[in-house]
């Protein structure tokens, strides 16, 4: 049953690409919040001393990987949830009535959502560098790409999982406000989580984005709370779990 339809996977991926490059205003719109966070927090706290941030790292170098994580979180969750739009506007039927296995549909959609999310993460990297982010080297940059893909896949799959369980769009803002926003704030994207009280910090530890942001920081800037291998392992496990969950819930979801 779990037959792979290469053409179909490519078709779904390509559709996301076309839409990404066509809906430029929407893309710019979704890049505005992370950009403002980066610019205002970056300049605003430039010279504020935070004891938990190592001396040799300026705040912008600390912040930028966090904001990239934020960009990936928001855009990939949104990408997964966009299944809701396809259902609302009927395009899901066009996808579902094709002789294509559901797992191929999940793979194609996810690949498209992940690609566009990573592109947005890379776009945010540019103002980060302009503002003073120092990238440790080519190896670090390539490793950060791995982290970006893992982060995007994790949250795209979670978005898909939610979308598969929802009948209409009413739950959308609920998820964005009560799941995605807390995940962002808890991840240590803006400040070291060691500044948080213990009970909040323990929530941070179960937030997959915490390891994603830490991994991005480690690979891009060379400073991280956990060993990079640990970040990578935890994130990979979260990613596999989310992917499995998303694929399963989509597999059993009704078309009608």
């Amino acid at each position: 049953m779990a037959r792979m339809n290469i053409y179909a996977i490519y078709s779904l991926w390509l559709r996301e690409m076309i839409r990404f490059f066509r809906l430029k205003s929407r893309v710019f719109g979704s890049l505005a919040p992370p950009f403002f966070f980066l610019a205002f927090l970056g300049y605003g706290f430039r010279s504020a001393a935070m004891s938990e941030i190592p001396q040799e790292v300026n705040y912008i170098s600390f912040l930028a990987p966090g904001i990239i994580g934020m960009t990936l979180l928001f855009s990939s969750t949104f990408g997964g949830l966009s299944m809701l739009w396809d259902r609302e506007f009927g395009f899901l039927r066009e996808i579902m009535v094709a002789p294509v296995s559901r797992i191929s549909i999940v793979i194609g959609r996810t690949a498209g959502g992940v690609t566009t999310a990573v592109m947005q993460g890379l776009i945010i990297l540019i103002p980060g560098i302009a503002m003073g982010l120092k990238i440790s080297g080519l190896g670090g940059f390539l490793l950060s790409l791995v982290f970006m893909v893992l982060i995007a896949t994790t949250f795209n799959s979670l978005g898909l999982a939610f979308a598969s369980r929802m009948k209409d769009m009413s739950g959308f803002s609920l998820i964005m406000n009560f799941m995605v926003f807390p995940l962002f704030l808890l991840s240590g994207a803006l400040f070291p989580i060691s500044n948080l009280p213990v009970w909040l910090r323990s929530l941070s530890y179960i937030d997959p984005l915490t390891y994603g942001v830490d991994g991005l920081r480690g690979s891009l800037v060379g400073v991280s709370t956990f060993p990079l291998a640990f970040d990578l392992a935890v994130l990979a496990i979260c990613c596999a779990g989310a992917l499995g969950l998303g694929a399963y819930l989509f597999e059993i979801s009704d078309v009608e």
Partner: protein, 335 residues
């Protein structure tokens, strides 16, 4: 391949305690242009959804192009093309991109796809609009593109759920032409649903009339209308008319059947034109006040009336089906 294009047996769909489709037995031949005619909420879309593997029947089953709709879903999907009742295009893509997407989903390689996109666009006269975004298409153009898309992958059977719903008369006629053309030129078996009498009459070789989830009549439009036989004389009378007075009409010469709903009386009459004077005269003798008289040759509407005791339009304006259909349309129109 031997056998019918579609054969259903006892096809049934129950939603909770509501039965939308009940024990439908159908046999549709290869190459046929077949119509399902019925009012809103009759269960037409539900039948299409089951035959296209979008819904699993709760009882009974069907074979489409030799494949079982429950057990061989991929094979069924490979054999069919579908145009759903509600729009199902990506409005951010152009016409060509929607067709290309479709072709890839069905595993068509680049060369085949390109040639076929060209062909189907020609068929529905949309070649000039190929590079236009779907959101800038008119309703009729969008429908034509969906029909073209349904044909892209050379399906054996094409399902069209209300292909002309909400379109103006001229666009409707064009779409009828395309449907006939592809049925004849491409040899595609076509199953369409409609609640327009003229559409079923004009287009379909055979028509199944559906009401409340059941097939109440099935034949060629001509044979169905022959069941009514004579002409129909419609009298609008005052409300106060009693059933006895109405009954009196059946005694007139040539009157084969009398049917009353409210202040409307339908008489089936041979050679209607020549009988009108007598009938009007007889009516006023019996004390029936006639407000208007009209006559027409039998239509499928009359057949529907004969089998269900109501008009298609009346049964539309009642019941949950209408509301559900209305709501679903509202939902898909919202952008």
């Amino acid at each position: 391949m031997e056998g019918a294009a579609i054969a259903t047996s006892g096809l049934t769909m129950r939603f909770d305690d509501f039965t939308a489709v009940e024990g439908v037995d159908l046999q549709i031949e290869k190459g046929e242009l077949f119509g399902l005619l019925g009012p809103n909420g009759a269960g037409k879309s539900t039948i299409i959804k089951m035959l296209t593997t979008m819904l699993r029947p709760t009882a009974g089953g069907a074979v489409v192009w030799g494949y079982d709709i429950a057990r061989e879903r991929d094979a069924v999907r490979n054999s069919i093309g579908v145009v759903f009742q509600d729009p199902s295009v990506d409005s951010q893509l152009t016409g060509r991109e929607n067709l290309d997407f479709h072709g890839r989903m069905y595993g068509m390689d680049k060369k085949t796809r390109k040639a076929r996109v060209h062909e189907v666009l020609e068929l529905v006269d949309l070649t000039e609009k190929a590079e236009v975004l779907m959101e800038d298409y008119s309703g009729g153009m969008q429908r034509r593109l969906e029909i073209a898309r349904g044909l892209m992958h050379h399906p054996h059977v094409l399902f069209l759920d209300e292909p002309t719903l909400g379109l103006d008369a001229q666009t409707r006629r064009y779409i009828w032409q395309y449907i006939q053309k592809m049925n004849q030129e491409e040899g595609v078996t076509v199953v369409l649903t409609t609640h327009y009498m003229e559409e079923a009459d004009h287009l379909c070789e055979r028509v199944a009339i559906i009401d409340q989830g059941k097939i109440v009549a099935l034949d060629t439009p001509e044979n169905l209308k022959d069941l009514i036989g004579a002409d129909i004389i419609t009298l609008e009378v005052d409300d106060g008319v009693t059933d006895e007075q109405v009954h009196a009409f059946s005694k007139f010469d040539g009157v084969e059947a009398v049917d009353r709903s409210g202040s409307t009386i339908n008489l089936s009459v041979d050679h209607g034109e020549s009988r009108i004077p007598e009938i009007v005269l007889g009516a006023s003798k019996a004390g029936v006040k006639i407000r208007s008289v009209s006559m027409h040759e039998p239509t499928l509407e009359d057949v529907f009336l004969k089998f269900t005791g109501k008009k298609i339009r009346e049964s539309e304006s009642s019941g949950a089906g209408m509301m559900a259909a209305f709501q679903s349309r509202m939902r898909t129109r919202r952008h």
